[in-house]
């Protein structure tokens, strides 16, 4: 029997999340030159969406797609997904189980780890083979340091991958894997632990999740209030990015804590990070210093943020940001 890998796939709205395609890329790399199968687990409530997504998963390299469908999976919940996933694991005995390090994945993986007494390496950003052993790199202290870990002991091995760090699997144009029919799961090992979702309030003005965004426009104390953040949102919208914030801005109540970037808060690694009115405290730098390109806009020429910025603008964000938005608008026309 070859290597078997189980991917915990994830829908956002009616489409697959990019991190799922990235996980498929990791699976393909793990399988490289080995024979084996990639299976996906997908939960949701809309059968048509699930069927479309299953086809999409197959097109991206999944050999089997297991689907848990029903109202209980709206919205998807770790607790309701757990029993069907455990059933699949029992059947497939996968060597690796891979999920995105998303709200859903980071709840599921620890429960699976405890249930299966499996090793779990969370939030990986790269992997490489060294002397016949697979090594996985992950940030610790929110990116103030990095560690490389290997699995020790028997499979399954659990991984969650940080969004935006692995290339999504590429699709071979000539390969039509139309034969993969989704397998709808009807029986499960056990009833889920009790939990009911009463309500979901969508508060994110943009549909782009901060940790997955390729461009992040972040504001600090220099944004001076929620009006300042409106300017940042306009720039983010123009760039197709998401808005983030420093701890100082969140503590001051300029914006929601869910936007906080730093050692407390989220760690982001976008292609472009635009820091507006952020001085650059150590705890903030930890959360963003691995971004590919960093732009800093700050009135204070001595702000520490400039020491890590690829492009620095000493200036008032209230002047610079609207100009940037306007220039981009002109450029896009």
């Amino acid at each position: 029997m070859g290597t078997s890998i189980l991917i915990i796939a994830e829908l956002k709205g009616s489409t697959l999340r990019r991190v799922t395609l990235e996980a498929l890329g990791v699976a393909a790399a793990l399988l490289l030159e080995r024979s084996g199968d990639i299976a996906c687990f997908l939960a949701g409530s809309n059968k048509a969406d699930l069927e479309l997504a299953s086809k999409e998963l197959a097109r991206h390299g999944a050999h089997h797609v297991y689907v848990a469908s029903g109202e209980a999976h709206q919205p998807i919940q770790a607790l309701t997904s757990l029993p069907p996933i455990l059933s699949i694991i029992q059947e497939l005995k996968p060597q690796y189980i891979i999920a995105g390090h998303t709200a859903y994945g980071r709840e599921l993986a620890p429960r699976l780890a405890a249930e299966l007494k499996a090793g779990y390496i969370a939030d990986i950003i790269s992997m490489e083979e060294f002397e016949g052993q697979l090594q996985f790199t992950r940030p610790i202290y929110a990116g103030k340091a990095f560690e490389t870990r290997t699995f020790h002991g028997t499979s399954p091995h659990l991984l969650t991958i940080r969004p935006n760090n692995f290339a999504p699997v590429s699709v071979a144009d000539d390969v039509e894997q139309a034969n993969v029919e989704p397998i709808f799961i009807t029986e499960q090992a056990a009833a889920p632990l009790p939990s009911i979702v009463k309500n979901v309030v969508q508060r994110m003005s943009s549909s782009i999740d901060l940790t997955e965004a390729e461009i992040v426009v972040a504001g600090g104390r220099g944004a001076r209030g929620s009006d300042g953040f409106k300017l940042l949102q306009a720039l983010a919208d123009e760039l197709g990015g998401a808005v983030g914030a420093s701890r100082a801005a969140c503590d001051a109540g300029y914006c929601d804590y869910s936007l906080q970037i730093g050692q407390t808060g989220k760690v982001v690694t976008p292609q472009l990070y635009i820091a507006c009115g952020i001085s650059g405290a150590i705890q903030h730098l930890a959360g963003m210093s691995q971004s590919r390109t960093i732009v800093a806009i700050n009135k204070d020429p001595d702000a520490p943020i400039f020491s890590i910025a690829d492009y620095g603008i000493v200036g008032d964000l209230f002047e610079v940001v609207p100009l940037l938005t306007a220039e981009l608008k002109a450029l896009h026309q």
Partner: protein, 275 residues
């Protein structure tokens, strides 16, 4: 009501992390209660003040971790339990198993923990404990209310007894879930505003006892196989690749923005004509 708070002692987030001989240099570093655990602790103390509760904090770690428990005692927890286990800080299953073993006989109504620890950052132990104890959980809580279905105005709850109504942060959206107690709830930023210990609190805490438990005794009780070898092993530890300051853009704001956009397009960072 009995509430257990899971705590970890971590580096202060304003500390720089330095590596000496392949290890994180702890010498001279300031340690604090993991910021997310502070929210959990504060929530427990608020429940205690409002409805009455017994609050027990538990930590697993080396000797220095007792300082975090001492702070907990100064803040008003009733009991502090220290599981003395210095060598296995990154063995999450072992830590969860030890915690579960201590927690089980205490029969808590609620277990509160931080969403993740700001050092290792996996957010794994609290949920592993939930799984080992077969308890439901709600993670990333930004608001927590406890009560019966009637008190919480939940009409269709299939459970009797005390429930937790939790607003949780799901990647920026707020999801409201109901779970019956006993349960595990992990705290997200914004759940509350943690208090500082008072001077009398600190003085009183000095006299209070910290209960010590040992893996040898706990793992024997659990009748589990040897958990001394980790399921994952660190093979390297290294600092982030250094970043140096780039270019300061000159001219007035208009010239600066033009230069910036030109550079970003040139470097293929903004390549699309639109989005």
């Amino acid at each position: 009501m009995k509430i257990i708070v899971l705590m970890k002692q971590t580096f202060d987030t304003e500390e720089k992390v330095e590596i000496t001989n392949g290890m994180i240099e702890e010498h001279g570093a300031k340690f604090v209660i993991n910021p997310y655990d502070e929210y959990a602790l504060e929530e427990a103390l608020r429940i205690k003040e409002q409805n009455g509760a017994e609050v027990i904090a538990i930590t697993v770690g080396p000797e220095r971790s007792s300082v975090a428990l001492r702070t907990g005692l100064a803040l008003g927890i009733d009991q502090a339990i220290m599981i003395c286990d210095a060598e296995h800080g990154d063995h999450s299953y072992r830590i969860a198993a030890l915690l579960a073993e201590v927690i089980k006989p205490l029969k808590p109504d609620l277990i509160l923990a931080g969403l993740f620890a700001v050092d290792s950052g996996s957010g794994s132990v609290a949920l592993q404990v939930a799984q080992l104890l077969q308890l439901p959980h709600a993670s990333a809580a930004v608001k927590l209310r406890l009560g019966t279905a009637e008190e919480l105005l939940i009409e269709d709850a299939p459970w009797s007894g005390t429930l937790a109504l939790v607003d949780r942060d799901v990647e920026g959206d707020v999801e409201t879930v109901v779970i019956p107690l006993p349960a595990v709830v992990t705290a997200q930023q914004g759940l509350n505003d943690p208090r500082y210990p008072s001077l009398p609190g600190i003085m009183k805490a000095k006299k209070k006892a910290i209960i010590e438990r040992y893996p040898s005794e706990l793992l024997a009780e659990a009748n589990q196989d040897d958990l001394s070898s980790s399921l994952t092993v660190r093979t390297a530890l290294f600092p982030p690749s250094p970043r140096s300051a780039g270019k300061r853009l000159s001219g007035d704001a208009s010239q600066q923005t033009k230069q910036l956009l030109h550079s970003l397009i040139e470097a293929n960072i903004i390549q699309r004509g639109g989005n």
